[in-house]
């Protein structure tokens, strides 16, 4: 298949690109909209907001989620906040500055046009959410409050205590509920997408499995939106919810959608360290904690087992403040994570020793409590402190928190053009599921912004434009491609149930996660990646021979669900390593140990790698074809990122 990656990004002055592009779009007459059926998979910020908005416009929307309610999508767990260029603080913020910070923060591996649109829409998001009744934090005068976040020198982050994601998602969920009541949206909870239906090269529906009855069936539509989140659970241990998976986007990839920058996975610096080998997930502590908490480790390895209260000021190494005096504890996530790994690898980590290394650094609020009082700190972070205490049994008002980086977000995802359409016409990807806006590193409080920008303000336009221009023949359940897609899913389920081996899905998943964490995690090198590319196919082969799944396909069967998702992670994991190996430079989160500046930072190679790597499935998972979308920077000149 000859694929030409056409970004369809507008040219000309960046400030007016989105407006001009919108004006050039075709529209669907309000009276005709109900004749179009749109499938939206996922009910997080992008999917929930998108389905609600399309419903409000009058389209006939089918909304799917694997959870028991659309309100539970993993956007709900985002704690810290959402960026918007409102400049309410009069501290020099602007749409252009948010655009600039995001392109720079992404280490010059994102498309300028998309990022500018995101910055532009950020202000509308806050208006929308406030009107819905999202209870953002306020100042005593009744106006909206802001806090600072990593990678920015202005205060532009809006928040609702430590539950910003929850409140934004409930806003979208309630908007969706309103449309369900109005009859424009039909909701399918506990329903998992198993495959994409492509007819004559165009996306026309999905195959789903009802997770209670086990029923496999086809749903047909005029367009399909995948808003199914990221693939961080490929690592087994991540901050993602247990059910987060790659199946929807991976199945679309196998049907022809290119997968972009799969190796760009974000490791969040402030998570609670793992406690033992039974660990089922890692819990994130909001990055906003770095506003007031100071990160340190002992200067001397001998002090690492001491009570931190007994370590004198002169014996503490506030390494982020030391190395990056102007950004201090608020350096971007990739840098904060790597520095934590470095000090722990040097033997200066704290907390329990696992596999011979103490993987933890202190995040200390002693000075902030002294300065602001415990009450103020409780007001700002009370629920986070409570959560930390519940999990670790330690009181962070008295003892410094211990934190360590964990997989958190995936910048990579399905390749999409400026219209959020994948390389399969009619198949769109929104939110974390696409690759589009964050380059090689996402700044804090930008995921919520992107999810809602895509959902409320981009999907409604691009879907209309597509539907108004597409010539779609009628397709029903009897179409050969539809029947085949359903039969393939049924066969795959039978196969997973019938292997009759000895190992559980979780045991395979932990092994896969270890391979990827060790070789394609916070630091990568050619040798390690090559080793991983030997190990993963071998593990996958064992998986298909030695997997153990009990029960049947015709009932609620959580082991079967895990197995199906893992089968796709097994393939994606290999592509991640292949992508990381092919990108022989460092950039953002992608830290190739062969390419490091004298100061220990990621050394980009713009000459050879200033492109989006988009991988095509060829029928053989181990032999994908690389396509390149060159990136041009007309406005933000690529420089070595410096946060010193």
């Amino acid at each position: 298949m000859a694929i030409k990656l056409e970004s369809n990004a507008p040219s000309g002055p960046i400030e007016t690109r989105w407006d001009r592009h919108r004006f050039g779009m075709k529209l669907v007459n309000p009276a005709n909209r109900r004749k179009y059926k749109i499938i939206v998979v996922g009910t997080g910020l992008a999917g929930g907001a998108g389905a609600a908005s399309l419903g409000e416009m009058g389209y006939n929307v089918l909304s799917f989620c694997y959870q028991d309610s659309p309100r539970r999508a993993h956007s709900i767990a985002a704690q810290g906040g959402i960026n918007a260029a409102k400049n309410y603080k009069n501290d020099g913020d602007s749409i252009y500055r948010l655009f600039y910070d995001t392109v720079k923060g992404g280490d010059f591996r994102a498309r300028e046009s998309n990022v500018h649109r995101l910055a532009q829409l950020s202000v509308n998001i806050i208006d929308q959410c406030v009107a819905q009744g999202v209870p953002f934090a306020r100042e005593y005068g009744g106006l909206l409050d802001n806090r600072s976040f990593g990678g920015a020198q202005v205060s532009r982050t809006f928040y609702a205590r430590g539950q910003t994601g929850q409140q934004l998602l409930l806003g979208a969920y309630q908007a969706l509920a309103r449309q369900i009541e109005a009859g424009t949206v039909k909701s399918f909870p506990r329903t998992e997408m198993m495959d994409l239906i492509v007819v004559d090269g165009v996306a026309r529906g999905i195959v789903t499995r009802d997770m209670v009855s086990g029923k496999v069936e086809a749903h047909l539509a005029d367009a399909v939106v995948l808003a199914t989140g990221g693939y961080g659970n490929v690592f087994f241990l991540s901050t993602n919810a247990k059910g987060c998976n790659t199946t929807a986007i991976w199945r679309a990839h196998r049907k022809g959608a290119l997968f972009a920058n799969p190796c760009f996975t974000q490791i969040h610096p402030t998570c609670i360290p793992a406690a033992g080998d039974y660990q089922s997930k890692l819990t994130l502590m909001s990055e906003s904690l770095r506003n007031d908490g100071r990160v340190w480790v002992p200067k001397n390895a001998a002090d690492c087992t001491k009570d931190p209260a007994e370590i004198a000021e002169k014996d503490r190494d506030y390494y982020l403040e030391r190395i990056y005096p102007s950004f201090g504890n608020l350096v971007p996530r990739d840098i904060a994570s790597r520095r934590a790994k470095m000090v722990c690898d040097e033997g200066r980590g704290v907390g329990p020793e696992l596999d011979g290394v103490r993987r933890g650094v202190y995040l200390d609020f002693r000075d902030a409590i002294k300065r602001l009082g415990e009450a103020k700190i409780r007001e700002r972070y009370g629920n986070l402190f409570d959560m930390y205490e519940r999990i670790t049994g330690e009181n962070p008002y008295k003892v410094p928190m211990r934190i360590y980086p964990a997989t958190h977000y995936t910048m990579g995802g399905l390749w999409v053009d400026y219209n959020l359409m994948t390389t399969i016409p009619g198949c769109f990807a929104a939110g974390e599921a696409n690759f589009s806006d964050h380059g090689a590193n996402r700044l804090g409080a930008s995921a919520l912004m992107q999810g809602l920008a895509d959902g409320y303000f981009v999907l409604p336009y691009v879907l209309g434009n597509y539907l108004a221009s597409a010539k779609l023949d009628k397709v029903d359940e009897s179409h050969i491609e539809v029947k085949k897609a359903v039969a393939d899913v049924e066969e795959r389920i039978e196969k997973l149930l019938g292997i009759g081996g000895e190992r559980t899905p979780d045991s395979f998943h932990r092994e896969l996660g270890n391979i990827i964490w060790n070789n394609c995690g916070m630091a990568r090198n050619g040798k390690g990646l090559e080793a991983a590319l030997e190990k993963i196919p071998a593990l996958r082969e064992e998986f298909w021979k030695n997997l153990k799944v009990t029960g049947t396909g015709e009932s609620l069967n959580q082991t079967l669900e895990k197995a199906g998702r893992l089968a796709d992670f097994m393939e994606l994991g290999e592509l991640m390593c292949r992508d990381a190996l092919a990108r022989d430079e460092s950039c953002g989160c992608h830290y190739r140990e062969e390419h490091v500046t004298e100061e220990g930072e990621a050394a980009r190679n713009d000459q050879d790698y200033q492109y989006v790597a988009a991988w095509e499935y060829t029928g053989d998972v181990s032999k994908p074809t690389l396509h390149k979308e060159p990136l041009e920077f007309e406005y933000v000149k690529p420089v070595q990122r410096s946060y010193k």
Binding site: D68, A77, P135, A241, K242, S280, P460, T550
Partner: protein
């Protein structure tokens, strides 16, 4: 130093909605005190699977206390012995070696059991669909700072909005009432200026849907507040009742004004 526990579990097993179901007993030796309650069940399930048996089905997703998907009745208490703690954030350090632990699903007419410890809470979604929102379409919003909200109101609204929709309030209530859930949403929106236009209509519709779903009536036991992992206060129920009375009065006045002429 961390210690390990040897436990005996009595777990509700039920194949499907029409199955009768009953308790099964499982030994759970060698459980680290640092495990979460659900990690303990993961370990038990891995052992069951290794023996070729079907693992215990239970709901969970975020495992950090915010998605509201998990929820077990542990020794008769929804979400277990710790206050302000979801099942996923309950840790085994709160149990003792040799403990016998009973584990059941939420029990309420409006929450039918789907399998083992998994229940159907779609009734909650239908209550929100009945009116738990502010009617504003994407694109129609005015400038966010155009309407200041007094900080105490915003804070109180946030206290109510913290509800995760887990259903522990229903499971804890002797009447299986959903009043705390409904009251929290009504208060969240009713305390904010953005929610005033539909305030009384919203309350009427949500309460009517709650009744239609088969939840029981509130008789002020306050078990809901004790079980709520987000510590939502019953004062919101009082507020809901006041709004409901006012809603009925407003409706009457409206009827009188329009004279029912149509």
């Amino acid at each position: 130093m961390s210690k390990n526990l040897n436990l005996t579990l009595h777990v509700w097993r039920q194949k499907g909605q029409s199955d009768v179901g009953g308790f099964e007993t499982y030994k759970a030796p060698d459980i680290s005190e640092h495990m979460s309650f659900l990690e303990m069940l993961d370990v038990v399930n891995e052992r069951l699977l290794a023996d070729g048996k079907e693992p215990i089905a239970f709901d969970s997703d975020c495992r950090e206390g915010i998605c509201g998907m998990c929820g077990l009745v542990i020794n008769g208490v929804p979400h277990g012995p710790n206050s302000a703690t979801t099942t996923c954030q309950l840790h085994m350090r709160h149990f003792n070696d040799g403990d016998e632990i009973s584990i059941e699903p939420w029990r309420a007419h409006a929450f039918p059991v789907l399998r083992d410890l998994v229940v159907d809470r779609a009734a909650f979604d239908r209550i929100i669909q009945a009116g738990g929102y502010v009617s504003v379409n994407a694109g129609a919003a005015p400038e966010a700072n155009g309407l200041p909200v007094p900080k105490p109101d915003a804070e109180k609204a946030m206290d109510a909005a913290a509800c995760i929709g887990c259903g522990a309030c229903v499971a804890a209530c002797p009447n299986a009432s959903a009043m705390l859930f409904v009251a929290a949403k009504a208060a969240h929106l009713g305390l904010l200026p953005q929610g005033q236009v539909e305030r009384y209509e919203r309350v009427k519709k949500m309460v009517a849907q709650m009744d239609a779903e088969g939840f029981g009536h509130c008789t002020n036991h306050y078990e809901c507040m004790a079980a709520c992992p987000k510590e939502i206060s019953v004062e919101f129920i009082a507020r809901l009742n006041r709004d409901l009375i006012r809603a009925t009065v407003v409706e009457k006045e409206l009827e009188e004004k329009t004279g029912g002429a149509g």
